[in-house]
Assembly symmetry: C2
Homo-oligomer: 304 residues x 2
């Protein structure tokens, strides 16, 4: 099965540091690049990681803070310079529209492609994008401004056909789709072959949830139940809980509590405060609650 890859372009927070870049990721899923957040510097990082900007079809922005947005003007302009003609879709809270219009008017005259804006209702948990193989759901988060996380879900593939059974029972090609869809088969001599003998289940659909920036929000767990990989912000260590509450962020312990109650297979933490010089205590704390935790790092590719 084709892997789903998560490319980390930036996992710092608002104040820039020499060791982290602001938030940005590329989720590579079913041959498509979905960008999640777009902090300053994404173009350089994508080039260093060998990721083509032109492969991005949809950009999902969680909220209108500069460290999640300021890479967008440059990215949109550069795609124009590179001769893009395919539409680019930007999904973001409503506040994005004015910013986008300002950028397009001032810097993108004569560009040969179209940028389409799709407003996200940050209070709803609903499908905001869908194609043949993927669904993207909004996740209502709690931050200082309207903010939504995202759940990327593969659609469940149909079962695989057992080739040898098709041959053995002489089943015509025209019936394959019916059998994939659940039909059984009766041979010419009247023998009934149940569907389970003709097929075997497809691999389970995979999923990825991105929850940043947010105060710890227990009821998120039910929306991302059983997720394969959860990226949850862990801006602060738990000893800075008061700071996390004040700024509407989460601690590493809270990120791990979310992974645990969501029954996630794996937790990825990031959005480190500029005050954190070394992330290993964050990792240690999170692991004490949810052992299968890893730290986000720029330039890293994670297989889901």
């Amino acid at each position: 099965m084709e892997p789903i890859l998560l490319h980390i372009l930036g996992c710092g927070s608002a104040k820039p540091t020499t060791h982290h870049l602001p938030s940005a990721q590329i989720l590579e899923m079913r041959g498509k690049y979905f960008m999640i957040d777009c902090g300053e510097g994404v173009q350089t990082t994508m080039q260093k990681m060998g990721l083509s900007m032109l492969k991005i079809g949809h950009i999902f922005i969680t909220h209108m803070h500069g460290d999640h947005v300021f890479g967008l003007p440059g990215l949109i302009s550069t795609m124009g310079l590179l001769g893009r003609t395919a539409q680019l879709h930007i999904h973001a809270p409503q506040e994005m529209e004015d910013f986008l219009n300002c950028i397009l008017k001032m810097f993108c005259e004569g560009m040969e492609y179209e940028v389409l804006f799709h407003a996200i209702d940050t209070k709803q948990h609903c499908i905001i994008y869908e194609d043949r193989s993927v669904e993207v759901w909004s996740l209502p988060l709690h931050h200082r401004v309207p903010c939504a996380g995202f759940l990327f879900k593969e659609k469940q593939a149909l079962p695989h056909i057992r080739r040898e059974m098709i041959d053995a029972f002489n089943i015509p090609i025209s019936q394959i789709n019916n059998i994939k869809a659940g039909a059984s088969w009766t041979t010419e001599d009247g023998t009934f072959i149940p569907n389970e003998r003709l097929t075997f289940p497809a691999e389970p659909a995979r999923s990825y949830a991105y929850c940043s920036d947010t105060r710890y929000t227990p009821r998120l767990a039910e929306m991302i139940q059983g997720v394969d990989l959860l990226y949850h912000e862990a801006t602060f260590p738990h000893e800075m809980l008061t700071q996390a509450q004040k700024t509407m962020h989460s601690t590493s312990i809270e990120a791990a509590m979310m992974a645990k109650s969501a029954g996630a297979a794996k937790l990825l933490i990031g959005h480190y405060s500029a005050r954190i010089k070394n992330e290993s205590p964050l990792l240690k704390e999170a692991k004490s609650v949810f052992p299968n935790t890893i730290l986000a790092q720029e330039g890293v590719k994670i297989r889901i």
Copy 2:
């Protein structure tokens, strides 16, 4: 004498590459940081170079192309996060004002410092900033959009006093400023001491000119006559002259011709096209016309 330092933050052009960042410089002059252009990524580069963002008082923007501007939203926001209270002055073509208002309205609410905009008439060669020790002049450039370069000039310091003469002729302290301003002295016995015996000239005032982006413009030479360091864009090698003419840029030979006709002491070239993988041919070409030429590189500090 305190050195004037030019810090190169970025010297690439519009399409980002892995080896260059978009245009940005800091001119450190008489204890002040003047920023010139502000391409995406300046914050990270300044941090790596150990330059404090809060020391920037004035930002001079040549023109409204993204590769000279897209670092500004992040820089302005971060200065707010860092608790800046001092005013920040932005000098740019009139078109900047709408962009600035858009950024300030959307991302800078509650910031504790003021951003003041000063429009530059890109058609005039005139003083656009002046303080006790420095003058900044606009330089009308020729590009696809309104564009001005900048000439930074120290004001000529007054001559130095010859301490030993002051003592020898018993000249009172109250006369020192008059003598610095050119007065001579007559002693009690009527001996006339000409000013030249009482003073010696101050070091000559230094200057720096920034000319980017621009088509080769011969009449610029008279405005920057005798400049100590000239930064002139050399987007293309001379074999790509047609491309330079079409896009309103200059070749390395043209940059060198400008340095020569301006009688510059030194030429610094940059704004390399993304197509240039190796800049040494540009340097070789420029040196064939103007030997004292150097290549701009990110992270480099040049003493003027």
